[in-house]
Point group: C2
Chain length 78, copies 2
Amino acid sequence: MKTGKPSHYTARQRVAANLRRVRQARGWSQEALADLAGLHRTYVGSIERGERNVSVDNIERLAQALGLDPADLLKRPA
Amino acid sequence: MKTGKPSHYTARQRVAANLRRVRQARGWSQEALADLAGLHRTYVGSIERGERNVSVDNIERLAQALGLDPADLLKRPA
């Protein structure tokens, strides 16, 4: 994002926060989630840190692995 | 997606359908939406056809241009 000082979560930050929160609630490691989603562990870690501009296809893979609807990963974290 | 015969919209197809529906409801051309979102018209067209694996940053740009929450673009079309 090119925005300067976001006063709220960007969509990327939402995905990052939701992914980490739900994964940890499941008691899963990044590696376990990555295996289930067919992605690499370090890639999942970088998504959780908001470093990657994750694509909609990978949002879907991660949501499916977590048993979520893809839209849930984009929701504003509580 | 590597799935064979989806019985439902993929996340990519959801974005495609929602984007087109809301853009048309606004009475906007693809070019008008693209200009507002800072994207190219042909890119917006390819997203609406489900040809592009659009990223979360661009989902946010498109949602902002349409006055939607980013999660709305991922919701299952009605």
